[in-house]
């Protein structure tokens, strides 16, 4: 290889990556960094009209957030979404993956696609569908429950039921994605190993504990990290299904940020929320990775 062709290759490499890198810097890196700067200003509707109204306020936005009960409500709700949602979604996905991976299953591809389908549907559209499924009087969910003698639940109107109701929808919508990831991991478990364990008289539960779970433990962690991040980013679900209600029981951090920024035009305060959200996701992810390193 000559020096000339090396230079040509390097120039081509820069040329081909430059448009994408420029776009990433302008539309992703700068806004992300600016978010931190914006959070130290009082950018509001007056600054939006005339930039000379903009002032540097230090940590005032953060101080105000700490005193805002709705902010804590949003943090608390999001925490509940994580605490309840992660085990729920991981369990659901793992169950589906093990079912589809079963050696006795016929027509496997059909079931796999059917279970994955909700994931590719439009979130807003299926949220509208579920709002109706969960209708107190005419919803199919309460009808099914009534067959078992359970009294109608006011899913989206009762502050205690609204968060689980949204979680049921989120679980339905996302388990197929995680199922595919789990399936790939389950397929790395050698059939012979399972077979050998079976011949040695190991029951279903023993095989699950000693053969399957060691093989999929890293995947459980991966899926948990992805699900935590997804739970922190819930927005359209409460926006369409409950508008944050009832009694603000489904206001998520992102919903709160949206209202601060684009309903009340408190962009400085909204940016502070965005930055805190980022710190939360980062912290949880780091803790989970640390735990994983210890466990391995």
């Amino acid at each position: 290889m000559t020096a000339v062709s090396r230079t040509r290759e390097a120039r081509a490499g820069l040329g081909m990556s430059a448009p994408a890198l420029t776009a990433i810097v302008i539309f992703f890196v700068i806004p992300a960094v600016a978010s931190l700067l914006l959070s130290f200003t009082d950018f509001d509707i007056y600054a939006l009209a005339d930039l000379s109204n903009l002032r540097f306020v230090g940590f005032q936005n953060y101080a105000r957030l700490v005193e805002n009960p709705l902010f804590w409500k949003a943090m608390g709700n999001t925490l509940w979404f994580v605490l309840l949602g992660v085990p729920f979604v991981v369990g659901l996905s793992l169950f589906a993956a093990m079912l589809v991976n079963s050696r006795w299953l016929k027509w496997r591809p059909v079931w796999r696609v059917a279970l994955f389908a909700p994931y590719v549907t439009t979130l807003v559209a299926t949220a509208v569908v579920w709002r109706y499924l969960l209708h107190t009087r005419y919803g199919l969910v309460n009808y099914l429950l009534s067959l078992f003698g359970i009294a109608p639940v006011d899913w989206l109107g009762d502050p205690h039921a609204s968060l689980p109701a949204i979680l049921i929808f989120v679980g339905w919508k996302t388990f197929g994605y995680n199922m595919i990831i789990f399936l790939a991991a389950l397929q790395t478990v050698p059939r012979e190993l399972e077979e050998a364990a079976r011949i040695d008289g190991a029951g279903w539960w023993t095989r699950l504990r000693h053969v399957t779970s060691p093989a999929i433990a890293p995947t459980v962690l991966l899926v948990s990290v992805l699900t935590v991040a997804a739970m922190f980013q819930l927005f359209a679900e409460p926006y369409v299904m409950t508008q944050g209600g009832p009694a603000q029981s489904t206001v998520t951090i992102l919903y709160f940020m949206y209202e601060e920024g684009f309903k009340w035009w408190n962009l400085g305060s909204g940016a502070a929320v965005a930055f805190l959200l980022f710190l939360c996701i980062l912290a949880v992810t780091l803790v989970q990775l640390r735990l994983a390193r210890k466990a391995v």
Partner: protein
């Protein structure tokens, strides 16, 4: 073992039916007459199927316009994303240039940062550029697709170096190599990436909600969300709206599912 085989399949069929039941019911209710679904117990099938809801959506609510907006925005997002990310992914995988590996490591680290973090400053940035309330503003995030670069790079790593060297010795320029030698090999991953971008931009809600203020520019999800807030009681109408919004992507996925699922694994497992 016979018993076992059928129990597992039956259980899978039951779970699968339960999973797609909301979608089937959405379609069924969309053909019901006004008010028909508001009964107890809820009817499973329409008494006499009607297209009234669809007629009303296209006639009175101008859903045709939103459908056209969605098709336009998603198609442009896909084309632009491919133009920006495919050459970059190829360059990061095979071409040697200064700072390549360090830059790529930064990009992978940035994958952890959710796009919503920068939404407010991005809004202000686009306002300064005069792009708020325009299709261009809705398209901008799709240009900065780090995931797409990652996906294409992963795929390009398997291209043998000798192949590119041979083309170079034959006197082909780097641009020609990309177009004539590399692109044909990349077809499967390009289809996968195109499908990803089209589906995600079609389904995207928060960013178009923020950037598109003018109702004439609304994409289907934004329009549907606005309609569903005003017409809470018109279940049959809303179900028809949901069908129009989600059926195109569902069909696209079913037709090209092989590409979608393989790309999903490259993205998550190796990521």
């Amino acid at each position: 073992m016979r018993v076992n085989r059928w129990t597992v399949t039956l259980l899978a069929a039951f779970v699968a039916l339960l999973t797609i039941a909301p979608l089937l019911w959405m379609v069924s209710v969309s053909f019901m007459a006004r008010g028909e679904a508001s009964q107890f117990p809820p009817p499973l099938l329409p008494d006499s199927p009607t297209l009234d809801n669809y007629r009303m959506l296209f006639g009175t609510f101008g859903v045709g316009r939103f459908l056209a907006n969605s098709v336009l925005v998603s198609t442009l997002a896909t084309v632009l994303a491919l133009l920006f990310t495919v050459p970059a992914g190829y360059a990061f995988a095979t071409l040697r240039f200064k700072g390549r590996d360090a830059t790529f490591r930064l990009l992978v680290a940035a994958l952890v940062v959710p796009g919503q973090i920068g939404m407010l400053p991005l809004f202000l940035e686009l306002k300064a550029m005069g792009l708020v309330n325009s299709y261009a503003g809705a398209l901008v995030p799709w240009l900065a697709g780090i995931f797409g670069i990652f996906l294409v790079r992963q795929y390009c790593l398997s291209i043998p170096d000798e192949m590119l060297e041979a083309a170079r010795i034959d006197g082909a320029s780097e641009g020609q190599i990309l177009r004539r030698v590399v692109l044909p090999i990349l077809t499967p991953i390009i289809v996968t990436l195109a499908l990803f971008v089209f589906l995600s931009s079609w389904n995207d809600f928060m960013w178009p909600l923020i950037i598109l203020a003018d109702q004439q520019l609304y994409t289907l999800p934004v329009a549907l969300a606005a309609m569903s807030r005003e017409h809470v009681q018109d279940n049959e109408l809303m179900m028809a709206g949901a069908v129009i919004t989600t059926l195109p992507v569902l069909i696209l996925f079913l037709a090209l599912q092989r590409f979608y699922l393989s790309g999903l694994l490259t993205g998550s497992v190796k990521g």
